[in-house]
């Protein structure tokens, strides 16, 4: 598969930062394949949000380049095309809604793109149905739950018909119920609608279903691969201040105690099966 986003040797420093200190992004390279579900992990301040903002040209690299569907994010003429290709959902649902009615908010992006009114209507209805918020289209956003707000924000991005959605810790301010709603929604968008999803998160459990995981630390990508491969490096992750999924942690402890269980079991069912098998031996 061809990559939809290519980050090539990107370095970035915020303005006014100490020149001698290490840059926020330090020679980062990665590729995101079209249609895949990618998770980016990393502890606070590791540069995840900074990287995310490079993926649709909100920030542009000091060194290196970011290509979105072949377009360089430094190219000002392509900026709108880049932003409509890569949509972005942020952490705080309250601070990304512009309108006082759900459907007006979802219409915001296509309105900016100059889409004809009838087509906007169709896109808004479709987007709201995709995230399961169609019945709430007349409501005021501030009266919705956190998970619902975040789904509206996702619909607002889908209405642009992007090929890729980047979500920067979309579940950080949600309760477990809301977190599940959001993760289920984006997983469905990726698997059923073929939209590339880049999910930035703190929660290891959200990385379980990913095609590929990147782990960031201090502006570097320190590990990448399938979730199984990445999480098996338990010690390396713990050194970076990251926890591993509960199932992996359990398997790790059991292995330490001498039980031969597979480390890469990511769902409770797999983990239980592995333990049962090991005990039978």
């Amino acid at each position: 598969m061809e990559p939809i986003i290519q980050v090539k040797d990107v370095s970035f420093r915020y303005e006014g930062e100490d020149e001698s200190a290490a840059p926020v992004l330090d020679h980062v390279s990665l590729e995101i394949e079209a249609g895949s579900f990618v998770v980016i992990l990393g502890h606070n301040g590791s540069g995840k949000s900074t990287l995310a903002k490079h993926l649709n040209g909100i920030l542009v690299p000091d060194e290196g380049e970011v290509l979105v569907d072949g377009m360089d994010t430094k190219d000002d003429d392509k900026l709108l095309d880049i932003r409509r290709t890569v949509g972005m959902v942020f952490q705080n649902p309250d601070n990304q809604m512009v309108a006082s009615v759900v459907e007006d908010d979802v219409a915001f992006a296509p309105e900016n793109l100059g889409v004809p009114p009838d087509e906007i209507r169709a896109r808004v209805d479709e987007a709201l149905k995709l995230v399961g918020m169609y019945e709430f289209r007349d409501r005021a956003p501030h009266l919705l739950s956190g998970g619902q707000k975040q789904r509206v924000a996702i619909a607002g991005v889908i209405a642009m018909q992007p090929r890729c959605i980047v979500l920067d810790e979309p579940t950080a301010m949600l309760d477990p119920g809301g977190r599940r709603e959001v993760i289920e929604t984006v997983t469905r968008l990726c698997r059923e609608n073929g939209i590339t999803v880049v999910l930035i998160t703190h929660h290891m459990s959200e990385a379980v279903g990913a095609d590929k995981v990147f782990v960031m630390s201090a502006g570097h990508v320190i590990s990448e691969g399938t979730p199984e491969a990445v999480f098996s490096k338990v010690e390396a992750l713990r050194k970076e201040g990251l926890t591993v999924p509960d199932t992996v942690a359990l398997s790790w402890e059991l292995r330490g105690a001498g039980l031969d269980v597979p480390l890469a079991a990511l769902t409770p069912a797999d983990c239980a099966a592995g333990i049962a098998k090991a005990l039978q031996k």
Partner: protein, 268 residues
């Protein structure tokens, strides 16, 4: 305390007034305000009041909502009444004590001024209660289209308004949260002199402002990410259209204003 603010609050509905084009409602409200300032005497006020009562009834919104909306400006109303009551001389003296005198002219003027303020506020509430903020700002933007050609930042202004209206409930909620947190630590917003209470508000306002700026920052980035690039080339999902009902309403408002002008000419 903060929950009382109903400014910019929309009551969903499908009444005749709800369905009118926001431009019609804006113009009609302007005409209504003009009529209030033209109105001279009891007859005119009675006509304005009658019209307002009819409109409120048609809108299907509970009158209590309007009274609640008046509460925050109670102070201004009382202040106006007192000033007019004591500062106006003329007619017969009704009451006198030391240097304070109430004359019949003063009583009348105070009464009419209070009536005018209440009618004014209630009338504009009718506009915001029956129109979504988005429709309101869209309507305003279209009405101001002519001065856009002269380079006035009409789109930016209407965007600002709609974002402000969108964030009022969010900021009120946040202010309430901060206030509860401060109260839990012993802050007292409800008693003491005016200056004491103002001082108590400071620890509430500072975090509120800090957070408002952070929100503005994040919102700007989110808007850019959704391809916002000013008003140029922008389309609207809900296109505004003037129906016969709108034209009828506009003609009706014109007739109403003319009527009030005539009444005023005769000093009624």
């Amino acid at each position: 305390m903060l929950k009382d603010v109903t400014l910019g609050q929309y009551f969903p509905g499908t009444s005749f007034i709800h369905r009118l084009d926001p431009r019609t409602k804006l113009i009609a409200t302007f005409v209504y305000i003009a009529a209030l300032f033209v109105a001279k005497w009891y007859v005119s006020y009675a006509v304005v009041l009658a019209l307002l009562i009819v409109c409120i009834t048609v809108s299907g919104i509970k009158p209590s909502a309007f009274f609640r909306g008046l509460k925050p400006i109670l102070f201004i109303i009382i202040f106006t009444a007192v000033i007019n009551l004591f500062a106006t001389k003329g007619g017969t003296v009704l009451w006198n004590w030391w240097k304070l005198t109430i004359t019949s002219a003063g009583a009348q003027l105070a009464f009419l001024m209070v009536a005018r303020i209440m009618l004014l506020i209630t009338g504009t509430f009718l506009l915001t209660y029956t129109t979504t903020p988005m429709a309101l700002t869209d309507g305003l933007e279209l009405l101001l289209e002519p001065i856009k050609k002269l380079g006035a930042p009409v789109h930016e202004f209407s965007m600002m308004m709609s974002i402000a209206l969108r964030f009022i409930p969010t900021l009120i909620e946040e202010a309430d949260k901060i206030a509860s947190a401060q109260k839990a630590r012993g802050a007292d917003f409800e008693t003491g002199s005016l200056t004491e209470r103002a001082k108590a508000l400071l620890p509430l306002l500072v975090p509120l402002f800090v957070s408002a700026f952070r929100r503005a920052d994040e919102l700007a980035v989110a808007m850019e990410a959704r391809c916002y690039h000013g008003g140029e080339g922008r389309t609207r999902m809900k296109k505004l259209t003037m129906c016969p009902a709108d034209w009828a309403t506009l003609i009706g408002s014109g007739v109403f204003l003319a009527g009030i002008i005539v009444l005023a000419r005769y000093g009624l």
